[in-house]
């Protein structure tokens, strides 16, 4: 399967300014809430005031009396989900696990869940009308603690959830939708061979992706049944699929346009408002706009799962890992979504180990349904594995990077699930980190350093791309992947590389679902690899067409025409690589530039365009390492992050600045999750910190400059060697930070976040010798 991977580039690997940059910094860029259309009205959602209750009745009569209220809706306006399965991009989803998140049906399972909606001529009026909707509830006991929810006698969230993965299949329902175990080798033999065994349990709280732009959409419908959606999303085609499924309207009636997006991180891989706005628009005959408040975003969109992970690792005296056992309990909120899978399968994928046992259970609680957050399911168990690896290295008196180098997986090693690795960059990442000046910089008293590594699988999936050439030879690239991290710039660079034309002459656009072939979401670290792959393929098709046209003009055979330096050259000998027009002229070769051919397109067969589609089967894993220096104020428990370095294998960084951006962003999010971010629920099961004041993501002044080192071990399966880069950066920060903080403070706090009150208590306990 190994193909020729290109290693010499003219455009790829440079850092042009992103085409969407000026619009974004001047405020011209249009995000989800920025579209306004003639006759537009405003939707408002009625949300549950209870964490668990039966919906007995919904009475819209008072709301409807308000002048200006034009439509109402509830789950009665949507088809029963039944057992329908919807083919999601990567995994199939049961409709009943997300339709009630859009609009609750019979029961509410978390505070803030959507119960009904109204639309009115102004946002204020819609809010007022929503207050007038009378919902009668029968309150049920809510269950917030995942251990309590996992008990056999716990109150049930659903009466039709039977644990999958248990034999014989259970006959009574429970709050545990999934149990999974993988193993290889002989775990007890592995521990018997160990000279040192360390076992610890780490807790990671539920947290939110914290994207700055709240969900927003505008929906317009017409009398012919057309449904146009404009929204902030990671995937316009996904919105089409899911909105069609939730509303029961045929896919063919939808056109979805993705707005510019202010962050998603996995949180915008589903729909919340769109199906509601569709129903309200159909009922009122008016375009409907809906915008979430920050409070709505925190309470009623999908955070990342909380998890408790017990890890036990055995090593020989000389530092070889003999056994790794993990046991994960993951809090998935009110509906199952299977984030446990990656956590169980890949939590120790960085290490060569013959004896592995990994077990996991998902638990349902009265909290919002979790959704993806960069490398979903991995950061939570990786904290446990990596912190224990650091502890083991310390107890063996080994350098933590040397310890990892000794045990790191490499090409040919086999993962616990049986898959062998192709060429991977973990060892190179470790070596780069070890050589980095940060790693050997001196620490002062009261400071600590932590390192951690992580693995992520990365996705491929389906993408399409279209390339159109204008009469003057300028080029338009159309793809269907919302640009979150600079992908338009990357698409242009890859096309420039194939076509041999300056990147500035290429205009990359993200277009609506009517204007390009299907594309899976911008997620799973797949866009540069898969959509970029489609762009490369389309550009190659275009080059072939251009050679054909030139050959026709010259009355030559296509094989006698080459494409180089952005032009067709009639072959007259060797040495064509990287030739320019002057070279060709000197040699007396005939040439036709892209502009020449574009001008004569009509005469040579019509407009120049190329289309490509594919299902990318060439994804390859990424590894990342972080080094963190922290300082702790022993009297207040406050942590300062002093220095931070990320090292990551990108395969090939198409646009290095945006790879660095992914690395830095992941580090910042992970630092926040480690130190302060957490969902705090009160006695009533209500989120107590649904805003950025008390849900503390780091602010710029909390952070040092995050240093980055890009390692490039090409993905042998991709024409340019690309691996995904967007997700793995979230996994190493938590263990790197936790290790650094515990070293600085002389504590062993395993319960995240390491917020000042908790850390101060741990410091005092350590000083008193009670810890």
């Amino acid at each position: 399967m190994n193909m020729n991977v290109k290693t010499e580039f003219k455009y790829v690997g440079t850092r042009p300014i992103r085409p969407d940059g000026p619009d974004k910094v001047t405020g011209r860029a249009r995000y989800g809430a920025d579209l306004n259309v003639q006759g537009m009205i405003y939707g408002h959602i009625v949300r549950s005031p209870h964490a668990h209750a039966k919906i007995k009745s919904i009475d819209f009569s008072a709301a409807c009396k308000l002048p200006g209220v034009l439509a109402t809706m509830s789950a009665d306006d949507l088809p029963e989900p039944g057992d329908r399965k919807i083919p999601g991009g990567e995994v199939e989803m049961a409709l009943k696990t997300f339709s009630p998140v859009v609009m609750a049906r019979k029961k509410v399972l978390y505070h803030g869940q959507a119960v009904a909606a109204v639309a009115a001529t102004s946002p204020e009026l819609a809010a007022e009308a929503a207050r007038l909707v009378k919902v009668e509830y029968e309150v049920l006991p809510h269950i917030m603690d995942m251990h309590a929810a996992a008990r056999a006698d716990a109150p049930l969230l659903h009466d039709d959830v039977y644990t999958q993965g248990v034999d014989p299949a259970p006959t009574t329902p429970s709050n545990i939708p999934t149990q999974i175990e993988i193993s290889t080798g002989d775990i007890s033999k592995g521990f018997a061979e160990a000279d040192l065994v360390v076992e610890r349990t780490y807790f990671v709280p539920m947290c939110h992706q914290g994207y700055i732009e709240p969900h927003a959409c505008v929906v317009q419908t017409d009398e012919n049944g057309k449904v146009d959606i404009w929204c902030s999303t990671q995937g316009a085609f996904m919105v089409r699929t899911l909105t069609a499924a939730v509303t029961g309207i045929d896919i063919g009636r939808f056109k979805v346009t993705a707005s510019e997006i202010g962050g998603g991180f996995g949180g915008k891989t589903t729909v919340y408002l769109e199906p509601v706005a569709v129903v309200l628009s159909l009922k009122s005959g008016r375009p409907v706009k809906m915008v979430m408040s920050r409070d709505d975003v925190f309470r009623a969109t999908g955070p990342a799962a909380a998890a408790e992970t017990r890890v036990k690792i055995g090593v020989t005296r000389d530092g070889r890992i003999t056994a790794i056992e993990t046991d994960i309990l993951m809090d998935c909120g009110a509906y199952t979504s299977h984030p446990i899978m990656a956590g169980v399968l890949f939590n120790s994928a960085c290490y060569r180990c013959e004896n592995v046992r990994s077990f996991g259970r998902e638990v349902l609680t009265n909290k919002p349904r979790v959704y993806a957050y960069r490398a979903p399911g991995i950061p939570q168990p990786v904290v446990a594995v990596e912190c224990v690896v650091n502890e083991i290295a310390e107890r063996l008196n080994m350098d933590p990077i040397d310890f990892r180098l000794l045990n790191a997986v490499d090409e040919g090693d086999v993962m616990a699930i049986g898959i062998p690795f192709q060429a991977i960059g973990l060892k190179q990442v470790l070596q780069e980190a070890k050589a980095h000046p940060h790693y050997t910089a001196e620490l002062k008293a009261g400071q600590g350093r932590g390192v951690a590594v992580a693995f992520w699988i990365n996705a491929g999936m389906q993408s399409s791309a279209t390339i159109n050439v204008s009469e003057d030879g300028s080029v338009n690239i159309l793809t269907g992947n919302p640009d979150i991290g600079g992908s338009r710039a990357s698409m242009a660079l890859m096309a420039a590389e194939v076509l041999g034309i300056p990147v500035e002459t290429i205009r990359p656009s993200v277009v609506d679902t009517d204007s390009v072939g299907f594309c899976d979401v911008t997620g799973g670290s797949r866009t540069t690899l898969a959509t970029g792959g489609a762009v490369i393929k389309a550009a190659e098709t275009l080059v072939k067409e251009l050679r054909k046209r030139a050959a026709a003009i010259w009355s030559l055979d296509i094989e006698e025409v080459d494409w180089t330096g952005g032009m067709a050259v009639a072959k007259s000998g060797t040495g064509l690589e990287n030739m320019n027009r002057e070279d060709a002229a000197t040699r007396g070769d005939k040439t036709l530039t892209l502009a020449d051919l574009a001008a004569r397109a009509g005469a040579t067969g019509g407009p120049l365009c190329a289309v490509a589609s594919h299902n990318a089967h060439n994804a390859a894993p990424s590894f990342a390492l972080n080094i963190c220096d922290a300082q702790v104020d022993r009297e207040t428990g406050k942590v300062d992050i002093l220095r931070y370095t990320c090292v990551q294998d990108a395969g090939k960084a198409i646009h290095p600045a945006y790879v660095e951006g992914q690395m830095q962003g992941g580090a910042v999010q992970g630092i926040g999750w480690a130190l302060n971010e957490e969902y705090i629920f009160n006695e009533q099961g209500r989120l107590d910190n649904p805003g950025f004041l008390d849900y503390r993501i780091p602010v710029a002044s909390d952070l040092p400059m995050i240093d980055t080192v890009i390692v490039e071990v090409p993905n042998p399966l991709h024409p340019y060697g690309v691996r995904g880069v967007g997700e793995v950066p979230i996994a190493p920060p938590m263990p790197a930070v936790v290790t650094a903080v515990n070293r600085a403070a002389g504590t062993r706090l395993c319960h995240l976040p390491l917020s000042p009150p908790k850390l101060l208590a741990a410091i005092e306990a350590a000083e008193a010798g009670t810890a």
Binding site: M1, G88, G89, E90, V91, E92, G165, D167, I180, E181, I182, S183, F265, G266, G267, T269, S337, H338, P339, M341, A342, L345, Y371, A372, Y373, R374, A375, P376, I417, G418, I419, P420, F421, Q422, I457, N458, A459, G460, M461, G523, G524, S525, R526, N615, H617, N618, A619, L717, G724, E727
Partner: protein, 81 residues
Amino acid sequence: MARVILSADMQRYTDGIREITVSAGKYRDLVTELLQRFPGMNEAIVAKHALAIDGIIIQTPLLETFGEDSELVFVARIAGG
């Protein structure tokens, strides 16, 4: 004969057998062979999985082929963010 490693979920229908060899050279024949060999298993269970062929994970392997000495691994599909 290609070597096949079954997922944890599939092993529940194989009496715990994790590894087998098959004579199939195409995904479709592989599925037929599995269902014959393990009557407890059904197509839906197989279809829930991605197939890794010699280390390359393929989410939708319907039309895939592989060689006599290929290593095949059935793996649960993973969602990214």
